[in-house]
């Protein structure tokens, strides 16, 4: 999404029209609105089908919520480092921003590794996507989330690769504004997924 | 009911298209004339649009109000049936299960008929419809009755045929390659013929299936819809 039109957009000033929106940020919000509908629709369906089956019963009780909780903690921490990276980029401290960013990306990788072990454990215990409707949902929902996280990690690494000492000031700050927005969104999605597929089926 | 709606919307249609055509003809470009400068943003000018809109809205409401009892009659209520038949749709055919003289399903005197649904005229027939594979739809054009049949649900429907005769049953939800050939026959018999039919299929018992039911409704509406 990086492009020269960002600069062109700024070149329009002075404006009679209040268009102080940063294009990247605005575009990202539109994108996230669409994404919300995808995840929201999936979660809504999950809830409704769950109700129609009278809860998920024993199928859902095997999910490893402790690992899930630990993964939530990892994502929270990754967002913290992302926020710190944004702070560093704002004061034009690219090296520090890069360090924080790599922490964010590595925490993302850690999340995926733990998720991988979790999937392997589920498979070992016979909980494949075909085991029950709950597990079908479980894999589709978390799988979709994993894909999003993976995309985020790729973008973060790409961003770190692109920042060189010659990068113009403010470039990283602008990019981070919407890349981090995406990261936080993926995190917010996870919060609901965690509640829906980990906590709710095991509670009570 | 349907006719009424068609008349109402038909009138709207003719009026609107007529206006459109009249405007196109009336206001063809003439040399040296200028078009009127009408923005149509003031309420006064907009009222030329809003008044027809209000009329349309009123007719809409009227149609809905009139449609409500019809819908309720067909889909939400079920008059006491003279005969209940279980219907199973499958790729590509129909299976009708009669409860037999005892009026209960799942007993040995149940009768399964394929393709042919035989019913007495002038009685309310209740169908309990299930599907064995994909979505089908029970459609009898002459009765104006249509109801989709969803696998995993038992869907009720009812009808009352007043005229004896043979009617076609069609599937009206795409259900596979031979969807078009998924034809059944609805045989509506006069009460006497029907008695004969019953005694052929259940020779032992005197009573027809569901004979004890609370009797046929006198048919005021005639057909559905």
């Amino acid at each position: 999404m990086a492009n020269s039109a960002v600069e062109i957009g700024i070149a329009h000033a002075p404006h009679e029209v209040p268009t102080s929106f940063e294009l990247g940020k605005l575009g990202m919000w539109v994108f996230l609105a669409g994404e919300t509908m995808v995840f929201g629709g999936l979660m809504g369906v999950f809830i409704l089908v769950g109700i129609s089956h009278g809860g998920w019963g024993p199928d859902g009780a095997h999910v490893n919520w402790l690992l899930g909780a630990f993964n939530t903690l990892i994502l929270f921490t990754s967002s913290l480092t992302a926020a710190l990276a944004q702070g560093a980029a704002r004061v034009q401290d690219s090296p520090r921003a890069k360090r924080y960013l790599s922490a964010t990306a590595l925490l993302g990788v850690l999340f995926l590794v733990i998720k991988g072990f979790e999937y392997a454990g589920d498979f070992r215990d016979g909980f494949t996507p075909l085991a029950a409707l709950f597990w079908s949902f479980y894999y589709v929902m978390t799988g979709l989330h994993v894909l999003h996280l993976f995309a985020g990690i790729v973008v973060l690494f790409g961003l770190m690769f692109m920042v060189t000492p010659r990068t113009p000031a403010g470039w990283l700050e602008r990019k981070l504004k919407y890349v981090c927005l995406y990261w936080y969104f993926v995190e917010a999605v996870w919060v609901f997924l965690f509640a829906l597929v980990y906590l709710a089926p095991t509670a009570g | 009911m349907l006719k009424l709606i068609i008349y109402v919307v038909g009138t709207i249609f003719v009026l609107v298209e007529g206006t459109l055509l009249a405007f196109v003809i009336l206001y063809r470009r003439r040399k040296g004339e200028r078009a009127a400068f009408v923005r149509g943003d003031s309420l006064r000018q907009l009222s030329w649009v809003l008044i027809p809109v209000v009329i349309v809205a009123f007719l809409d409401v009227a149609i809905d109000v009139m449609a409500k009892p019809v819908w309720e009659l067909i889909k939400e209520q079920s008059p006491p049936p003279g005969l209940t038949v279980k219907l199973a749709a499958l790729q590509f055919g129909w299976e009708f299960t009669y409860p037999g003289p005892d009026g209960k399903f799942g007993t040995p005197d149940d009768l399964v008929q394929t393709t042919f649904l035989t019913v007495p005229a002038g009685q309310v027939i209740r169908l309990l419809m299930t599907s064995k594979d994909v979505i089908h739809s029970f459609y009898v054009p002459q009765l104006r009755l249509r109801q989709d049949i969803i696998p995993g649900r038992e869907i009720p429907a009812w009808f009352e045929a007043t005229q004896p005769g043979k009617y076609e049953i069609a599937c009206s939800q795409l259900c596979g390659i031979s969807h078009f050939a998924m034809k059944g026959i609805l045989r509506v018999l006069t009460p006497d013929e029907y008695k004969q039919w019953v005694s052929q299929h259940w020779p032992k018992s005197g009573a027809g299936p569901g004979k004890s039911a609370s009797g046929a409704r006198s048919s005021a509406t005639g057909k559905e819809g």
Partner: protein, 93 residues
Amino acid sequence: MEQTEFSASDSLKTWALLVVLLLVGALAVPLGLPRSLALWVIFAAATAQAYVIGRYYMRLRSEDVLIYTLALLPVVTVIILAFVLTPDVAMHR
């Protein structure tokens, strides 16, 4: 757009808040609360977490109305969708 700067200590505070909320939600499981109460706690905690993320990390607290609309419109739509589907999908059995 940002009238307020978001400092490192703010980030840390947000993180701590999130962790506390995570504990609140997750503890509903081992504590063995009654199921309906546990569900309330879990989803209240999740909503609160999403709110904190949105408000502080995604900077919604200093955003324009338009961004708010963009963020809330899909949420509202999904909720409406779920509610309208409830009688048919969830209740028919």
